[in-house]
């Protein structure tokens, strides 16, 4: 099992950060996956706040799994999201992304399972420095089922 000190040391880890634009084709396919019609006025589907911030801070789901030292089916679970939308998000505009791991905690379940709660927060700003969105995601890295 991953030593608890090693996983707890991830608290405060800052992602590289960067900028990213959501292109039309990506938003179109993403929206289609949700079984929705396309949104008007080049609006980005709200569910883009899952992967766009992760890619925007210059990391990836794969890198996050490596950071959390997990692999294989059943090793990762979603716990919860808190996504705040301060301004509309549009296609083909560059946004700036910054984020960090804000909490890590080892949890033992009543049935004897063990997982590490991994919580990270990412903020999106526009070129005027206005806060557009903020996401806080909580994942579970399972150590023992």
């Amino acid at each position: 099992m991953v030593p608890v000190d090693q996983i707890l040391s991830l608290k405060g880890f800052k992602f590289p950060g960067g900028s990213k634009r959501i292109e039309h084709w990506e938003n179109w396919l993403l929206t289609d996956c949700t079984d929705s019609g396309q949104l008007p006025s080049n609006l980005v589907h709200p569910i883009a706040l899952f992967h766009i911030p992760i890619q925007g801070v210059d990391t990836s789901i794969s890198e996050l799994f490596k950071l959390g030292m997990v692999e294989g089916a059943g090793s990762v679970g979603l716990e919860g999201y808190d996504w705040e939308y301060f301004l509309p998000l549009y296609e083909d505009i560059d946004y700036r992304f910054e984020g960090e791991v804000i909490d890590v905690e080892r949890i033992q379940t009543e049935s004897g399972g063990i997982f590490d709660r991994f919580v990270f927060r990412i903020e999106l700003t526009n070129d005027e420095g206005e806060l557009v969105s903020r996401v806080t995601n909580s994942w579970r890295f399972w150590r023992k089922r």
Partner: protein
């Protein structure tokens, strides 16, 4: 909005996803650059007792809630989504997105809190709250 009180305890029109589609999970995995095989490799889930099935991405489960809210109050109505994931949803399953207005939180901005949940039969698989700006 002066008549915001009328929305209290009102249910949001439900959205039914008749059949969660494994092919959409594959496209979604590619968009997300998601290496987790439980969403696209049916054999990967044998160790979980789900051989031959794939697990829908959490964001897709939440998207059904988002689509329900957008159909109700427009494409920019969502100001906050808080969700807790309780159970996995598998390909081929039918899920229902539901919401209910439980609180007026900013009368001047027309903002309300909506209790949200996604269910499969009697099972709630996702629950949470949304902050919505009322425009209709």
């Amino acid at each position: 909005m002066s008549d915001l009180e009328e929305y209290l305890d009102r249910e949001v029109p439900r959205l039914i996803i008749e059949q969660v589609d494994a092919n959409k999970m594959k496209t979604m995995a590619a968009i997300l650059r998601d290496p987790y095989p439980v969403h696209w490799d049916k054999k990967a889930n044998a160790t979980l007792g789900l051989d031959g099935r794939v697990i829908n991405q959490g964001p897709l489960n939440l998207s059904y809630i988002a689509n329900m809210l957008i159909a109700w109050q427009g494409p920019s109505c969502i100001k906050r989504l808080q969700a807790r994931f309780l159970k996995p949803v598998l390909d081929g399953e039918t899920v229902v997105a539901t919401g209910k207005v439980v609180e007026i939180i900013e009368p001047e901005a027309g903002r309300v809190r909506v209790q949200i949940w996604l269910s499969r039969g009697d099972d709630v698989v996702l629950e949470g709250e949304a902050e919505i700006e009322i425009s209709n």
